[in-house]
Amino acid sequence: MLWGACKFNDEITRLPIAGNRDVATKVVNGQTVTDTVYQTIPDFKTVNQYGDSIKSVNLDDNIYVADFFFTTCPSICPVMHRNMLKVYEEFKDMPDLKIVSYTIDPKHDSVAVLKKYADKLGIEGNRWWFLQGKKEDIYKLSSNYLVTFPVEDAKEKFIHDGFFILIDKQKRIRGQYDGTQPDSVQKLINDIKILKAEPEQK
């Protein structure tokens, strides 16, 4: 999924915005203006590897990267998280960037199991959260992340396809990347830098 960044009228390079959109009209200074309202990631209820409750509000004012995994995954997840480590290392000093990995096997991936997994990867602090929630809720949530983009792209995305999704501070989807492919992950890293330079993301 390679999206080109776009230059808009203000000459700032911006990433495109994915997902459904609506046109809304509002009155500003007595004038009726139309505005595009983009799909956002809805609220969710999870627990992280420290046992702390994590909801959407805990990601406010953060750009973040999301993925879906499970700790006993023998195939793509180890590759994904080895690649995600590159993102983690690259932006270690960026205070408003987070990574969230939702487990799709909450029955096995308890808080203790998630903590052990995080420890094995060398993850400390609150920059990268491994989140556990009700399985059905995570699957429902995933459909908000895994939108097809462009809309004309008929190929449906599945929770176990290894995608990394880039979310901005307004909780809009700004990119989707193949987490198993190093060049796609490098594009994610480059796009995070582009996103961070957008005025609304400072």
């Binding site: 006993t72 023998p74 799709i104 096997d105 059905e136 699957y139 599945f158 929770i159």
Partner: protein
């Protein structure tokens, strides 16, 4: 001086004897060394072959696992549809008692299939540390059968639930 010369002659004689003995031993010794080298070579080849067989066998299991995980989305979506139908509310009242009982059974089958895969993943050991080649190959063969059964189960419950959910669609 004659003693010295005699000593030198004797030493030479001994040296020549040693060289002759070594020459006699050389070929057998070389053969032994070559035999060992050949054995090590064969052993290394065999180990490499066994590793390749294990890798192939493991990949076959993982491929089926990936296929099942690809169906997991569909299974979960159908399961969530059954949850919605069975949750008390305006949608729930549109279904007859028979439909709700049947949907409950469909939901149970979906959950059982999901649980079977979850358990298989938890129990699966991809590394098999300390196991012999034969033990590994036997294990992978067994796991391939087990995950193939789960793959078939997924196919059956998804097809069945698709069909019934379509039939009772309101």
């Amino acid at each position: 001086m004659i003693d010295g010369i005699n000593t030198i002659i004797n030493l030479n004689f001994v040296l020549l004897k040693i060289i002759a003995i070594m020459k006699k031993m050389l070929i057998p010794f070389a053969l032994i060394v070559l035999a060992f080298a050949g054995c090590s070579d064969d052993k290394a080849k065999q180990e490499a072959q066994e590793k390749e067989q294990e890798k192939t066998a493991l990949n076959e299991v993982i491929k089926i696992h990936d296929d099942v995980m690809g169906k997991e989305d569909h299974l979960m979506r159908n399961k969530m549809k059954t949850d919605t139908i069975l949750t008390p509310g305006p949608l729930n009242t549109k279904y007859t008692v028979v439909e709700k009982v049947t949907i409950s059974a469909v939901r149970s089958k979906l959950m059982a299939a999901d649980e079977a895969m979850s358990k298989w993943m938890q129990d699966f050991d991809a590394e098999l540390k300390g196991k012999t080649h034969e033990e590994k190959m036997k294990y992978y063969a067994g796991q391939k059968k087990a995950v193939t059964r789960i793959d078939s189960l997924f196919g059956v419950v998804i097809e069945g639930s698709d069909k019934y959910l379509k039939e009772i669609q309101k």
